[in-house]
């Protein structure tokens, strides 16, 4: 629970954006600089992937954006009223059944029990976990756990959805299926997405914009607009234009790593 010296004020983000980072830095108490001079602007309804070398501050970026940690310099504009957030692992509460896990955030937000149940049931069906409502997480596969985790965030109907490398631990086939599912939620619900990943094809496939971060302390060093229309088809991965964009992102990433 980070206490903050200044309480945030309500102020529209510059340029009508959904999320704005203006010269943001984040120095940890031990002196580690997680972010330094980071500028980023995300329009409402954009889906932005962030790639960058390991340890460059991608998770820190999301933690600052979500308010889990308070940045130490610069300014951040973000609407946190309806925030979705998935972690690298599914982070299910092992002592709760799937349905009660999916209902957790609504419970914390004080939704009435009947509504919680109804929405949880609906989201469980949406992510294809029908029939597992009363299972405990222990019994689910890695992909199913991630689906439950997605359902839990979707239940709040997020306006801004942050993903911290959610599918890094999954096999490729499950991962690609979940990519399509997230795209489907995105096109249906129209949230603003920030998606951290180590996989360049995943970043290009899912996003309307890919952002490349430098080595620590992380800054945004390159941005690529991805012109493909939504919803996207899996065969997109084999199009020459897709390979060309992936190659460019990859090159920028290599440049970022080498400094």
């Amino acid at each position: 629970m980070s206490s903050s010296p200044q309480t945030p004020m309500e102020a529209p983000a510059p340029g009508g954006n959904a999320i704005v980072f203006d010269n943001v830095s984040m120095t940890f108490p031990d002196g580690t600089e997680g972010l330094k001079g980071t500028d980023l602007a995300i329009r409402p309804g954009e889906f932005v992937s962030v790639v960058g070398p390991s340890g460059c501050g991608k998770s820190t970026l999301l933690k600052v954006a979500s308010g889990l940690v308070r940045h130490t310099g610069g300014e951040v504009w973000v609407d946190r009223a309806q925030l979705g957030y998935t972690f690298q692992d599914a982070t299910l509460l092992p002592w709760r059944k799937v349905i009660d896990n999916v209902a957790l955030l609504m419970e914390l937000r004080g939704y009435p029990a009947a509504e919680r149940r109804r929405i949880a049931q609906e989201k469980i069906e949406l992510v294809g976990l029908k029939g597992f409502e009363n299972s405990y997480p222990q019994r689910l596969s890695g992909g199913m756990k991630m689906r439950a985790s997605l359902a839990r965030s979707l239940a709040l109907n997020p306006a801004v959805f942050m993903f911290d490398e959610p599918f890094g631990a999954l096999d490729e086939i499950t991962r690609e299926r979940l990519n399509d599912e997230v795209i489907e939620f995105y096109t249906r619900e129209g949230f603003t997405g920030i998606f951290i990943t180590h996989s360049i094809p995943e970043a290009v496939y899912m996003s309307s914009k890919v952002v490349v971060m430098s080595a620590r302390p992380g800054r945004i060093v390159a941005q690529f607009d991805i012109p493909f229309a939504y919803p996207r088809h899996p065969d997109l991965r084999y199009e020459p234009e897709f390979s060309k964009l992936s190659g460019e992102v990859s090159k920028a990433l290599r440049a970022a790593i080498e400094g």
């Binding site: 629970m1 957030y85 982070t91 509460l93 002592w95 914390l108 222990q138």
Partner: protein
């Protein structure tokens, strides 16, 4: 390549049929056989040691016949044993009723306030290392001969395991689970109730199991210096030793072991009922 292939030893592996779940009787046998066999071993060893004793010292180890004729076979003694067991249970439970809520509260307070953890923990360790037996006369002089000194002794014995295990459990809750709660603006109290406490419950239960069985031992020890009045098994142990009624002393020992084991099994059973569906530590 081909040389490796030539040396390769190919074996055929037959399938293993899907195991049918063991029946209740089979499970009982599987669970009861090992302790029963070991118990028989102990009895045989007891008999061997007893037979090797010179006859004038055999009173130290009563025979099964003696145990029956001079103790367990006597209806009066059986009634006394039962009543005393009740007294011992009463002392142990009263002690636990004091220990468990206070110890849990201390654990939670240490978890909430880091400075208090730093302050309290050394004293918990110190308390644990005090030889309680040695200070019983002191407790007696301070609190007299009623229930209070005995309950205090039980508390001294049983306290340590609970705040320590609880604190360990509370601290090892998944950080991202806490982040999840923080993102919804959950209060510390809600996080404690819905994240930390459930996550710590199996660890706490391990502590409760230890304290539970210690409570019986402590209740018996608490009486060793209180020999008047209608006491429990501890008093019976001392009095029968003083009167050279070794058979009755052994009967009291057996009763107290059964009591300790029952408490342990009770907590075990409860723990399995509560946690087996999600926690790896519990047996299926």
């Amino acid at each position: 390549m081909s040389e490796i292939a030539k040396k390769a030893k190919v074996e055929v592996y037959p399938p293993q049929p899907v195991p049918t779940p063991p029946t209740l009787t089979k499970r009982l046998i599987l669970n009861l056989m090992p302790p029963v066999i070991l118990g028989i071993g102990v009895i045989i060893a007891y008999a061997l040691v007893r037979n090797s004793l010179p006859p004038h010292r055999q009173f130290l180890m009563p025979s099964a016949g003696g145990l029956w004729e001079l103790a367990l076979g006597l209806p009066d003694f059986r009634r006394e044993l039962l009543a005393r067991t009740g007294v011992t249970i009463g002392i142990a439970l009263t002690g636990l009723a004091v220990t468990i809520p206070t110890a849990i509260a201390v654990g939670i307070i240490m978890f909430r306030f880091y400075t208090l953890e730093k302050a309290i923990f050394p004293f918990l360790v110190a308390l644990q290392s005090v030889p309680v037996m040695a200070i019983i006369p002191l407790i007696q002089s301070a609190l007299g001969f009623g229930l209070a000194p005995k309950v205090l002794i039980v508390v001294l014995f049983t306290f340590f395991a609970i705040p320590t295990t609880l604190l360990l459990g509370l601290k090892s809750v998944d950080k991202n689970i806490l982040n999840l709660f923080r993102l919804q603006g959950a209060s510390w109290w809600v996080m404690l109730r819905k994240a930390c406490f459930p996550s710590a419950a199996p660890t706490l239960f391990a502590g409760l199991k230890i304290s539970g069985s210690l409570a019986v031992i402590a209740a018996i020890v608490s009486e060793l210096f209180f020999l008047s009045g209608e006491g429990g098994l501890g008093q019976l142990l001392m009095n029968s030793k003083i009167d050279f009624k070794y058979e009755q002393m052994y009967a009291a020992l057996i009763a107290s072991s059964i009591l300790s084991i029952s408490v342990y099994l009770l907590f075990n059973w409860l723990g399995n009922r509560l946690f087996s569906h999600w926690h790896e530590s519990s047996e299926k």
